[in-house]
């Protein structure tokens, strides 16, 4: 069952025109008039998300991820298109709709800066009309799982980024949302904190069936948490499907070798000519090879050298997305 239904969703903003004539009067006119032009931040997006899914929303800076999340949560009004979440039109039925969602913005706090975390949480309890008993039970549970019990009485401004993020996540979950939108929740977190957060989100999805819509720059997070991803580039949706299918479609593999001794320099040279050499030291190579030629090339490398170590690495989501962007860029250059 679809919980998010988006069709031809667009958002346009007006932004100041920066380029133009450079003469004194042109600059003066620009300063006084402050001309603006329309920028399409999100261009005719269409996708659906099923209940209980964990979907990764990927894209470079300025690709329109946050704008899309803000339209899905009712913060922004779309310029055109259809958006329905849980049967609500977010920007029209905001108050009824927001009872059922949670939102975490990694780069913005939704807690009150100068007051203790617990006071912000109690305020949210009253805003959501949650019963004190349910609130205490949920808080008790999350305070243990996310280890924030010690910071509940500290003002938000005194928390580290990692602790603040945990508090933000608790604040977004206490009222039992059916969908949680996370906009770069792992930004600035150390490895351990990121690991804990991912573990927590996975459990939340499994135990409570919460649908998770996650944007992040860290593709490893998406790879570990999500089965499906949406990739956005400059406001355009360029991929919508399984991560596994995306990876299966990738026709390159990474081969790393450590050479003890070169037995046949000519054969080694011939083998290397069939690969992209990504990295090279005196005794090691990191190569990118076509998947269908990998076995043959590896055979040639074995014949040309005595190897101390060899790794064949399947493509990471990161490398695939990077390549996807590069391909798009080169296509647009050609066009």
């Amino acid at each position: 069952m679809n919980v998010i239904h988006v069709r031809d969703l667009s958002k346009r903003f007006r932004v100041p025109v920066r380029e133009g004539r450079t003469g004194f009067f042109s600059r003066l006119r620009r300063f006084v008039v402050n001309p603006s032009e329309e920028l399409t931040a999100v261009h005719e997006l269409s996708f659906d998300v099923d209940a209980g899914e964990v979907v990764g929303f990927l894209g470079a800076n300025g690709s329109g991820k946050s704008t899309t999340i803000k339209m899905l949560t009712g913060i922004l009004t779309p310029s055109s298109g259809v958006v329905e979440v849980l049967g609500y039109v977010p920007y029209k039925q905001r108050i009824a709709y927001t009872h059922h969602i949670g939102l975490v913005l990694g780069q913005k706090t939704l807690l009150w800066w100068n007051i203790p975390v617990i006071d912000s949480l109690r305020l949210y309890r009253d805003i959501y009309g949650q019963s004190p008993k349910d609130f205490e039970q949920r808080l008790d549970h999350f305070a243990d799982v996310l280890e924030i019990r010690d910071i509940l009485h500290l003002p938000v401004r005194k928390l580290s980024l990692g602790l603040r993020m945990r508090a933000e996540i608790v604040a977004s979950l206490l009222h039992r949302p059916r969908i949680i939108f996370l906009d770069e929740p792992t930004i600035g977190l150390d490895v351990l904190a990121r690991l804990n957060l991912k573990r927590f989100l996975r459990r939340l999805n499994e135990d409570e069936g919460v649908t998770i819509f996650l944007t992040t720059h860290n593709l490893f997070d998406v790879e570990e948490l999500c089965r499906r991803c949406l990739i956005l580039e400059r406001g355009h949706l360029i991929y919508n499907g399984d991560i596994a299918a995306l990876k299966a479609g990738e026709k390159q593999k990474i081969v790393e070798i450590e050479v003890l001794e070169v037995l046949n320099a000519r054969r080694l040279h011939a083998a290397l000519e069939r690969c992209d050499v990504l990295q090279r030291t005196a005794s090691s190579y990191r190569l990118q090879v076509a998947a269908d030629e990998a076995v043959e090339i590896i055979g040639e490398l074995f014949e040309a050298c005595r190897l101390s170590n060899m790794n064949v690495i399947p493509p990471t989501l990161e490398s695939i997305v990077e390549k996807l962007f590069e391909d798009r860029r080169s296509q647009s250059h050609v066009a």
Partner: protein
């Protein structure tokens, strides 16, 4: 519904109090600031009247003290809506995200979040003490009906001024930061400290019909002292302006939210 709203208001006021008292020195300085500011004006009127005459255009020292206390009460009322004055800054910084993603009226939340309850109460208490002292000292005996009407008129005046300030602040949704424009408007608020009847007809008309500063100080004081020529005329003007600006405010607010751009992040 009402119960939930009151509980929410109470919670917001508590948050606002904690927020404002987070830095104690700054907090106590703000209280001292309002008291000193008021004392300066009372000393000012006393000095003027000592060196000029026993009254100023019909305003005796006692009347001017009452005027000062009414401005204090008006400020105390306005402090409950200080959040409206910060709307411009909040929109520019994208701080409405917090309210728009929650099941709460963003307008209610942004006003309630910045309610300056303690300073407001302190100003009200100060005003009542000064007013009570002035009535005893100068032998003023205002009729209870006049007291009620003057306070009602003053509150109506405050509502109109707040609605105008809110409408100006809402321009931020289209034009970006308009804090300076609002500051420019609030400069007219300085007139509240002086009897409007001392000014030329043009300025008096402007401060009655366009920016109704008169409705928060001069006219309520005249009603309080029983010197008003036409109480209902003052009420009529204030009510008319309140209805007109309320309509403008409501229409603008609905459209403004569609223009919110949620900057940052």
């Amino acid at each position: 519904m009402w119960r939930k709203s009151f509980r929410l208001l109470f919670r917001f006021v508590a948050v606002s109090f904690r927020n404002m008292s987070a830095f104690r020195l700054d907090f106590f300085t703000s209280i001292a600031h309002s008291l000193i500011y008021q004392a300066i004006f009372i000393v000012f009127w006393k000095s003027i009247l000592t060196f000029t005459a026993q009254n100023l255009g019909g305003w005796r020292f006692a009347d001017l003290v009452v005027l000062s206390t009414f401005t204090l009460v008006a400020n105390a009322v306005m402090l409950w809506f200080a959040g409206l004055l910060r709307l411009s800054q909040k929109v520019v910084k994208g701080e409405l995200d917090k309210y728009l993603s929650k099941p709460v009226s963003p307008l209610f939340a942004l006003i309630a979040e910045d309610v300056n309850a303690l300073v407001s109460t302190q100003q009200l208490v100060s005003a009542l003490l000064i007013l009570g002292g002035a009535c005893l000292y100068f032998g003023l005996r205002p009729a209870p009906g006049n007291v009620a009407l003057s306070l009602l008129l003053m509150v109506l005046g405050c509502v109109v001024l707040l609605l105008i300030q809110g409408c100006i602040a809402m321009l931020t949704f289209w034009w970006g930061d308009v804090s300076r424009l609002n500051s420019l408007f609030m400069m007219t608020g300085e007139f509240e400290r002086y009897p409007l009847t001392l000014f030329p007809v043009g300025i008096r008309g402007f401060l009655t019909w366009i920016v109704p500063i008169g409705a928060i100080s001069t006219y309520p004081v005249l009603v309080f002292l029983g010197k008003a020529e036409s109480v209902w005329r003052y009420f009529g003007i204030a009510a008319l302006l309140a209805v007109a600006w309320m309509a403008v405010f409501q229409l603008s607010w609905r459209r403004a939210l569609c223009h919110y751009e949620a900057f940052g992040g």
